[in-house]
């Protein structure tokens, strides 16, 4: 089994990402205090997705992993979306 060792990620990168995450956290909290009605939830979710992709790609090294890993993630997201989406076809139209 050919084991390609990928280079250690420099500390700096991690620190930067960390700062970015903190900033985004502040952003959500701040935004959530202003009234946007239904938009609040969507903003919150977008920010959350941004944060999580940072964690997944950098902290979890997905960036360095092979294509297989990425395809896996996409599949996962699609499936979760299907589960939630199709359940809504019931609850939304009842």
């Amino acid at each position: 089994m050919s084991e390609h060792k990928h280079e250690p990620v420099p500390y700096r990168t991690f620190i930067l990402i960390y700062v970015a995450l903190l900033v985004l956290t502040v952003v959500t909290v701040a935004v959530s205090r202003v009234h946007l009605g239904a938009w609040n939830i969507w903003v919150a979710l977008t920010v959350a997705s941004a944060k999580s992709s940072l964690v997944v790609f950098i902290f979890m090294h997905l960036k360095q992993e092979s294509k297989l890993f990425k395809i896996g993630i996409v599949t996962l997201i699609v499936i979760v979306a299907i589960f939630i989406g199709l359940t809504f076809t019931d609850v939304l139209y009842r």
């Binding site: 089994m1 084991e3 060792k5 250690p8 990620v9 420099p10 500390y11 991690f14 620190i15 990402i17 960390y18 995450l21 903190l22 956290t25 959500t28 909290v29 959530s32 205090r33 009234h35 609040n40 939830i41 919150a44 979710l45 920010v47 959350a48 944060k51 999580s52 964690v55 997944v56 950098i58 902290f59 979890m60 090294h61 992993e65 092979s66 297989l68 890993f69 896996g72 996962l76 499936i79 979760v80 589960f83 939630i84 359940t87 809504f88 609850v91 939304l92």
Partner: protein, 199 residues
């Protein structure tokens, strides 16, 4: 070549697959959340106001920091800085403990207000709010359990590092428990806005 051949990528892939299952596990609770949120928008806003946003924010920061430290730990073990790695692991565990203590105070505060599954005070608050808090307790509770597991994992790995079983060229165990820890963080990244921040 024997069956004890080594396949780090395979091991990591296996771990990722396991994380998928964890995501689906929580997605079940998020489905329930979404449906109830659609049914009771006002009640949900009200209820989330009853949660203490400071506890939530602090815990978010705590978890993000712990995510950072464990990520750094991997780089440092790759650089064969064993001592540093160990310290980073301990810090991570410490942060996990902080998180749980924080949660303990938060919950005891809420419970003292009579807000917990099955309490008669909740019954008075009406269905929407009850639904919110039931889900909140179960989701946060399940997340708490994962924190415990993750911390223990990292603890075990730390011991193995100290014993030299996990080294700069054989550190998949550390990577995998780090992956698990990041997942715990990921769940919270969604849990936090959904429960504490919706207006």
């Amino acid at each position: 070549m024997s069956i004890e051949h080594r396949d780090d990528t395979g091991a990591r892939f296996g771990m990722w697959l396991f994380l998928y299952t964890e995501v689906i596990l929580f997605s079940g609770l998020f489905i329930l959340y979404a449906m109830a949120a659609y049914k009771f928008p006002q009640e949900y806003a009200e209820a989330s106001h009853m949660l203490n946003i400071y506890f939530g924010t602090i815990n978010t920061i705590v978890l993000l920091t712990s995510s950072l430290t464990i990520a750094l730990a991997i780089t440092s073990i790759q650089k064969n800085k064993i001592k540093q790695t160990l310290i980073l692991c301990y810090v991570t565990i410490a942060l996990a403990v902080v998180f749980l203590i924080n949660k303990y105070f938060e919950w005891s505060a809420e419970i003292s207000h009579g807000i917990y599954p099955g309490s008669e005070h909740m019954a008075e608050l009406g269905p929407g709010i009850t639904a919110f808090f039931n889900l909140y307790y179960f989701t946060a509770g399940l997340h708490g359990v994962h924190i415990l597991i993750g911390a223990t994992l990292i603890g075990v790995v730390a011991v193995m590092i100290a014993k030299g079983k996990v080294t700069s060229d054989r550190f998949t165990l550390l990577e995998n428990s780090a992956l698990y820890w990041h997942l715990v963080d990921l769940v919270w990244i969604f849990l936090f806005p959904l429960y504490y921040l919706i207006l």
